[in-house]
């Protein structure tokens, strides 16, 4: 009895206290829980991961010294950034010198032919990141422009599907490493211009990405289109919609969720493929960076490769989140949970 009264008083007191402390009625309890779930738990998991990494790494000795732990990798990240800054300063200095030289030349003789050369310094880690992102985007966009229409046609016509399915299923599991030599040789035979807009290595990498990231989009779009609600097809038939209206108003919107699922898988594959292709073909990009460091074999190499690994992962994650945002913006079903 006494305890009950006490708890009643206590709870009353607490509510009063709470109502005093938060006049604008923020749900602190809910806010706290959410923060713990969304931020605290992932941070803790990352912390545990780093701890295990550090502990295991310190136990392994390699020809390049001890396997680097998180601290060493972070040091190299900073070092890579410093190198990038130094390289940029050098570049700026180079252009400044060139500019000065040319101005002086022109002042002495207005007829003089001046030379403007591009800076040919070593590509830094950050240059390689940019190259890789541009390459994967190009390859992926080309792949999507081919795969979505092909997928729609396959979904609409069982005949076309039956015709193309064996080909799709055969080419789908082919590794990028098998495509690469073929692409390289064909590109060097076909892509011959005096003033190339893109370098050959870029074309090679982009086409390899395209070849590997076509398939999931084709297959998913096909499934999305062919598994459309039959009643909606009947609506289209009763209305006698033209094929164009049929595609834009009925087929595309209803297959968007599946299509995007495919696009995201494609994009992930494209990103993985690109790194492999760059490594194998020594095409500029993150893959080349990894390979160069591997060949370099200095005591920092392993840590630098690990920086690249984490970077590759983070970029893949960010790009996928970007795709997810795009998917949310075009998806009509706002209530669907997209992950």
């Amino acid at each position: 009895m006494n305890a009950r009264v006490m708890s009643m008083i206590e709870s009353k007191f607490m509510t009063k206290l709470l109502s005093l402390s938060k006049p604008e009625k923020i749900n602190w309890d809910g806010f706290f829980k959410k923060t713990v779930n969304k931020v605290g738990v992932p941070l803790m998991a990352i912390g545990i991961f780093l701890a295990i990494w550090g502990a295991v790494a310190s136990q392994i000795q390699t020809s390049l010294g001890q396997v680097p732990g998180p601290t060493k990798v972070w040091e190299q990240t900073v070092a890579l950034y410093e190198e990038h800054k130094v390289e940029r300063t050098k570049e700026a200095a180079f252009y400044e010198r060139q500019e000065k030289r040319n101005v002086a030349k022109l002042a002495a003789n207005p007829e003089a032919t001046i030379k403007v050369r591009a800076y040919t310094g070593k590509a830094t880690f950050f240059d390689q990141i940019l190259t890789s992102i541009i390459t994967v985007m190009t390859g992926f966009i080309i792949a999507s422009l081919i795969a979505i229409p092909v997928g729609i046609i396959c979904g609409l016509s069982p005949t076309v599907y039956n015709a193309l399915n064996p080909l799709i299923q055969t080419f789908k599991p082919v590794s990028p490493l098998a495509w690469l030599p073929i692409v390289t040789i064909i590109v060097s035979a076909v892509y011959i211009t005096d003033d190339p807009m893109f370098s050959k290595s870029f074309v090679n990498s982009a086409i390899t990405v395209t070849l590997c990231s076509l398939w999931p989009t084709i297959i998913n779009t096909t499934v999305g289109v062919s598994s459309m609600d039959k009643d909606l097809l009947n609506v289209s038939r009763v209305l006698r919609l033209s094929w164009f209206t049929h595609i834009t108003k009925i087929v595309l919107p209803s297959s968007v969720p599946m299509m995007f699922a495919g696009l995201r898988v494609s994009f992930g594959i494209g990103w993985m493929v690109l790194i492999a292709a760059e490594m194998l073909a020594q095409n500029p990009g993150l893959g080349k960076f990894v390979w160069d460091e591997f060949q370099n074999g200095s005591s920092d190499s392993l840590a630098r490769i690990m920086v690249a690994v984490v970077t590759i992962g983070l970029i893949g994650y960010v790009l996928d989140q970007f795709m997810l945002m795009l998917q949310r913006s075009v998806s009509w079903d706002k209530s669907a949970v997209l992950r």
Partner: protein, 267 residues
């Protein structure tokens, strides 16, 4: 009212199955006058929907055919608008846009933009959905979706309105409400309607004639009942009407004595 409007003659249909063709309908004959409200009633699986789909042009009869105003039906078209059982609204369009899609298709070049807008709003008004016209199907209730589905069909100004168990998925109260709406609309527009139902009360309340189908396979029309009750009908006053109850009893007798549920027969 008396001229021949829709003629279903000697319609049979066979579907190919792995174990040979399956005859779903056999020799269905029915002639419907303009402005008439006809219900098709029968046990599930008896081919009611198949008849409707043949009239809609979504299925092709194996033998026989359908003639609407002197023209043979051989493909679907907006002159035979269908109200599907599960509304079939495009989920990515609002109620207004769903109807707009149909109106643009049917009245392209016949109505100006302004007239189309008015016509769409008029039809939404007719089903009492003008308050939610810019909502998507996921934001409105089942009954409301079905209303929009009906408005879409009506907006096509069809010669025949085909309804495939339009209220089958709704709860009893909503269904009664929708039936009253349909009575009101039919009173105003005098559409020719073919409606599939498995609800005896619904059939008697709404129809001029009730077409009772035998059980499949090779289902056909078993009996046709003329419902000679004055319109508009009111469900509450009819509840004690002896004539109404006789009609009800006749349909029930057909369904549960002459055409027992095929599943019961097996057991």
């Amino acid at each position: 009212m008396s001229k021949k409007h829709l003629e279903i003659s000697q319609v049979s249909i066979e579907f190919p199955t792995p174990s040979g063709p399956f005859k779903a309908l056999d020799g269905v004959n029915l002639s419907i006058k303009e402005g008439e409200f006809v219900s098709l009633i029968g046990h599930s699986g008896c081919g009611k929907s198949t008849v409707l789909n043949i009239v809609a042009g979504l299925y092709k009869a194996t033998t026989g055919g359908v003639i609407l105003d002197g023209k043979e039906v051989n493909e679907p078209g907006p002159d035979r608008a269908v109200v599907f059982q599960n509304h079939s609204l495009l989920p990515w369009l609002t109620a207004y846009e769903n109807i707009e899609l149909a109106v643009k298709q049917v009245f392209k070049g016949k109505k100006s933009k302004e007239e189309m807008k008015e016509w769409i709003e008029h039809n939404l008004n007719l089903v009492h959905m003008d308050h939610a016209m810019h909502k998507r199907p996921s934001e409105i209730s089942g009954g409301m979706k079905q209303r929009v589905g009906i408005a879409r069909a009506l907006a096509m100004e069809p010669k025949v309105l085909l309804m495939d168990e339009p209220f089958g998925a709704l709860d009893a109260l909503t269904r009664a409400h929708m039936q009253d709406s349909l009575i009101e609309i039919q009173q105003r527009l005098n559409n020719t309607v073919i409606m599939i139902t498995h609800d005896v009360d619904e059939a008697v309340l709404l129809s001029d004639r009730i077409v009772m189908m035998t059980n499949g396979p090779a289902a056909t029309i078993g009996e046709i009942l003329e419902v000679d009750l004055p319109k508009p009908r009111n469900r509450v006053t009819l509840a004690n009407d002896s004539q109404y109850n006789e009609y009800r009893a006749a349909v029930l007798k057909f369904l549960y004595e002459r055409q027992r549920n095929p599943e019961e027969k097996v057991a």
